[in-house]
């Protein structure tokens, strides 16, 4: 497509920025426990649900990371949310059904989902 105006360039920049957003820093992070314990408890399904929910809602400025076992295997799948400038919130025993709730409540509206909360770290 030919760029004939600043508006055209701006549009391409916006969509291209989304494509490369995984490489930018300083945004909300979701960290999922993907140790053997996490995977056995269904963390992969949770991860896929998170990605699906994010793309459904068009949320681009969120990074989704995996991490190894942190020792709380009985609480797996673990899912942490870190919003910029806020403490790290850890959810335990997260199911695929919980994911849309965590995304809409916590990520979008900043309200912690209390019934899955197991810890916060500053």
């Amino acid at each position: 497509m030919k760029i004939t105006s600043l508006e055209d360039l701006r549009k391409i920049k916006a969509s291209a920025t989304d494509q490369t957003s995984a490489r930018s820093e300083g945004k909300t992070r979701i960290i999922i426990g993907l140790g053997t314990c996490g995977i056995a408890a269904g963390a992969r399904a949770v991860m896929e649900a998170v990605l699906e929910e994010l793309s459904k809602r068009g949320l681009k400025d969120v990074s989704v990371e995996g991490t190894g076992c942190i020792g709380m295997c009985q609480q797996e799948p673990l899912l942490d949310v870190i919003r910029p400038g806020e403490p790290r919130i850890t959810y335990g025993l997260v199911t695929v059904q919980d994911v849309p709730r965590i995304v809409s409540e916590h990520l979008v509206n900043g309200r912690i989902v209390e019934d899955r909360l197991i810890g916060r770290a500053d």
């Binding site: 760029i3 920049k13 490489r23 820093e25 999922i32 426990g33 993907l34 991490t67």
Partner: protein
């Protein structure tokens, strides 16, 4: 469009490709499919990260984990451990030294801490074959700004304010050069990119072209708008096939998006770019020779004036800038000339890219603010000398430059200070030498290069460099006289002052600086017939110490000219008349019984 949670950046610069990064990349894609991760993890090929010593390099985002020396067999581990299970693969992280902790993140590497990347802003971060990734990083915003909001004079004023000087080595203020060309009245003008990088050990321009070709295209288009040109050439040596391939892709994409070609972004401005592949002659980096070569003539320089700004390519006003200079244009337009001028020293603004090579731990590409000291570049960024040997000299500016000694380590890197020390900024080659390097041999090496590359048009360069080389060869064979030294110096000054172009005018620099700072080494070769660094083959001997020799026979087995004799009962002996001084015996002896003297 799927959202990828993770991007795996595999370096596709020439260094890493030589190290097998293409296989790593292919294997990565296979493994991701096997694990069902190909919908959530994207593999991206980037340009050079600069840390070529540690290649092939793989960076995993969003974490920014920096994996080094990744071999095809390591790929499975990265996929299974990091991407599937979220565990960082410790063994592939960079460890600056045994005692230090390994470095996880890109930004934590000491190599990057002191860098300030402007020309290299996108290298290693974007896929050079995808114009949209360049646009995402503010690409073509500067061109849009220029076309929609600025006049050609505004652009030139901004370039003048920035204080940017030609990065190819000359150091002429870019804004002024553009102004000269703009003021020339003509129906046709050209902008040219000099990508004929030919210094031994230099790869700044190649890495920019391979890693971020659009930055050069955009800079050229902005320059063309400012000067009133509608056609441009990139003169790139054919030895850079990857750079040429990526440039071709980039030009085709820019044309498809209407960012090059007719009526750019819907305006009246039209500009097209051609690539001219050079055959790799060093002299074609000289601007008048370069233009002759584009015209299809033999690549030879001509006297100036007339300068290219008045009478250049096909006798039309032309402007030639180096790759790195062009790559700096867009950030200056976006952020303003004052922003660029806030970096660097009084007379040398901004940053400079150096290719760090030789006996330094971290071989690679660095972009540093002007005014940084040579010591910081070698010891902080470069990590010091290999095997912690003593630093002896740094050759800055390639075969046209000069060497700097330990006494110059705290010299700030700027055009004036380096010239005062007898060296030049040059295009950015920085070759580090340790105590085992013979300075006479180094001078000979560089002169061999310039002598071979001399086009032969003017007598001082053609004959002068040849005689200088013959003299140096005599000295390194131990056949020189003290008189040779005076003649060498006299000839060097003569060649410097009377050659036609930059090649001849700078060719004697390595000789003059080594004579100035390492005269004692020349004298040792002449008076004592010894090479203090034990590097000149004619002046050294390999000798077996019979007390240490365990008569294993490995040296004799490996000697390419079978000049070592001995057996289980008698220690081995080297026949000096047949020895070619290759040093193989010393390397293979397990008992360190062979010495060089």
């Amino acid at each position: 469009m799927p959202t990828y949670r993770s991007h795996v950046l595999v370096c596709g610069g020439t260094g890493c490709v030589a190290g097998g990064s293409q296989i790593v990349q292919a294997r990565m894609k296979e493994e991701l499919v096997k694990k069902g991760l190909d919908k959530e993890v994207l593999v991206v090929q980037t340009g050079c990260h600069g840390m070529c010593e540690l290649g092939p390099i793989v960076v995993v985002y969003p974490e920014g984990t920096f994996y080094t020396r990744v071999q095809p067999d390591d790929v499975k581990l990265i996929v299974e451990e990091h991407l599937y299970k979220g565990r960082v693969v410790e063994k592939l992280l960079y460890k600056p030294s045994e005692k230090m902790e390994s470095v996880k993140h890109y930004n934590e590497l000491p190599f990057y801490a002191k860098q300030h990347r402007i020309a290299l802003r996108n290298c290693g971060y974007i896929n050079p074959d995808n114009i949209e990734e360049y646009i995402a990083r503010d690409g073509y915003q500067a061109l849009a700004k220029v076309l929609k909001e600025m006049t050609p004079d505004d652009v030139i004023n901004e370039m003048k304010t920035s204080g940017l000087r030609g990065r190819g080595g000359g150091g002429f203020p870019t804004g002024m050069k553009w102004e000269f060309c703009k003021k020339s009245v003509s129906d046709k003008k050209y902008t040219i990119c000099n990508a004929d990088e030919g210094d031994p050990g230099a790869f700044m321009d190649r890495s920019i072209l391979e890693g971020d070709p659009h930055s050069v295209l955009e800079g050229m288009a902005i320059g063309a708008f400012a000067m009133g040109a509608d056609e441009g050439y990139i003169y790139c040596r054919a030895e850079y096939p990857l750079a040429i391939k990526r440039l071709k892709t980039a030009i085709a994409q820019a044309e498809e998006y209407g960012l090059l070609g007719r009526n750019i972004m819907g305006t009246n401005f039209s500009f097209e770019i051609h690539i001219k592949e050079g055959a790799g002659a060093f002299v074609c980096g000289e601007e008048t020779a370069l233009m002759a070569s584009i015209e299809g003539e033999r690549g030879m320089p001509r006297p100036r004036p007339p300068f290219p700004a008045n009478k250049g390519l096909w006798a039309k006003p032309s402007n030639i800038n180096n790759v790195e200079t062009w790559a700096n244009v867009s950030p200056i337009i976006i952020n303003g000339g004052a922003w660029y001028a806030s970096m660097g020293t009084e007379k040398s603004k901004g940053t400079k890219v150096f290719a760090l090579t030789g006996k330094v731990k971290n071989t690679g590409l660095v972009e540093v603010p002007m005014g940084i000291t040579i010591r910081e570049i070698i010891f902080d960024l470069g990590g010091g000398i290999i095997n912690d040997k003593a630093f002896k000299a740094a050759q800055i500016g390639g075969p046209s430059g000069g060497c700097l000694t330990e006494a110059h380590l705290d010299t700030p890197v700027d055009y004036e200070s380096l010239t005062a020390a007898g060296a030049i900024m040059g295009s950015g080659g920085l070759v580090i030498m340790d105590e085992e390097t013979c300075m006479v041999d180094v001078a000979k090496f560089f002169l061999e290069f310039t002598q071979r590359e001399s086009c032969g048009k003017c007598v001082p360069c053609r004959e002068g460099t040849k005689q200088m080389l013959l003299t140096l060869e005599r000295i390194t064979r131990g056949e020189g006289t003290m008189e040779d030294l005076d003649k060498l110096e006299e000839l060097a000054v003569m060649v410097k002052e009377s050659s036609l172009c930059g090649l001849g005018q700078t060719a004697p620099n390595p000789v003059l600086t080594t004579l100035r700072y390492f005269r004692h080494e020349y004298e040792a070769h002449i008076r004592e017939k010894t090479c203090p660094a034990k590097a000149c083959a004619a002046l050294i001997q390999y000798i077996v110490n019979p007390d240490l020799c365990r008569k294993c026979g490995l040296c004799a087995k490996n000697c390419p000219v079978t000049c070592i004799s001995g057996d289980r009962q008698t220690p081995y002996v080297i026949d000096q008349s047949k020895c070619i001084k290759c040093g193989t015996c010393l390397e293979v002896c397990p008992f360190k019984a062979i010495r060089k003297e």
